[in-house]
Symmetry: C2
Subunit: 182 residues, 2 copies
């Protein structure tokens, strides 16, 4: 089955195995989100599906939100440099210009990432598709001042934005539920 531009009716007919296969990485490395959200079908459209993922993330305890952040790679970090990111992360980080940093910018990014992880115990997550390199570096510095509680919620909200954009890459955004298959 092709997994771009899917009509929502096709999504609603998926078994849970197919659904997890298709949407298992819209939240990075956290297929539990897709596995949980499947029960909410039929979905009216792509936006509605994204909202279900967001609601599930919101309902997780703080430890779960932090856990989701810990499953994310460092921005422009070791995995990116070794070419070992998921295909989704690779594209997103490249679009933000993170592959075209000067040596100095790269060092600044590494330093800030480390300070962030030391302080919070999870990596800095930001929706790279909505930000460019400079805004990301600025955001990192600014968010380092937050409290851990605030920052786990800020990070989770960025995960929700990334998730919505990844879903819109998979499901045709104009497609509407025409009938309930259940």
């Amino acid at each position: 089955m092709s997994t771009t531009n899917l009509p929502i009716d096709k999504v609603n007919k998926m078994t849970y195995e197919e659904f997890i296969e298709c949407f298992g990485n819209v939240v990075e490395h956290c297929s539990l989100c897709a596995a949980a959200v499947w029960r909410e079908r039929p979905f009216r459209d792509a936006q509605c599906l994204a909202t279900c993922f967001g609601d599930f993330i919101d309902r997780l305890p703080i430890s779960g939100k932090e856990g989701i952040l810990r499953l994310h790679p460092d921005l422009a970090g070791r995995l990116a440099q070794a070419g070992k990111l998921t295909s989704e992360s690779t594209r997103e980080q490249a679009n933000a210009g993170l592959g075209r940093m000067s040596g100095e910018e790269q060092q600044r990014m590494n330093r800030l990432n480390e300070r962030y992880k030391d302080k919070f115990g999870f990596p800095f997550v930001i929706c790279a598709r909505e930000n460019k390199k400079d805004a990301i570096l600025h955001g990192l510095e600014e968010r380092l001042e937050n409290s851990p509680q605030t920052e786990s919620i800020t990070g989770a909200n960025e995960v929700k934005k990334i998730c919505r954009l990844r879903i819109l890459d998979i499901v045709n955004p104009n497609s509407q539920l025409t009938h309930s298959p259940l």
Copy 2:
């Protein structure tokens, strides 16, 4: 780092990346659990670590508990027959005698698994190391009568038993925290 018979002090010194690598599959295919539980360190001992995983599962909404079940393979199902289970599941299912079923038993298991998934929308999960083939087939028939709500909680409790035994395979059960590394 060897990942059997680890002293708890070593576990408590792990970064979250190391911890997720080591404990990411004690809940089958659900590394979010390990990612969430890391914040609870230092752990006093292996039992205490297992209890933290159990508490996290308990705090998930019903959709999350169901999601965890959906990340499990069918017992003695297609993946087992194709040799594509995780190493943990392979060993557990073999110990329960699920690899030595007659054709008739295999058909009965497949039929019951399908009925169970049709009714509940997630697969039948049982701690195979605490049950043998006959008890498992009997349990499947019995649990088919439960309500979906009861069954998601029963299934989650089985996941907790599996998780505890997998942790005791990794961490030396006699090892105690000698000092807090944090």
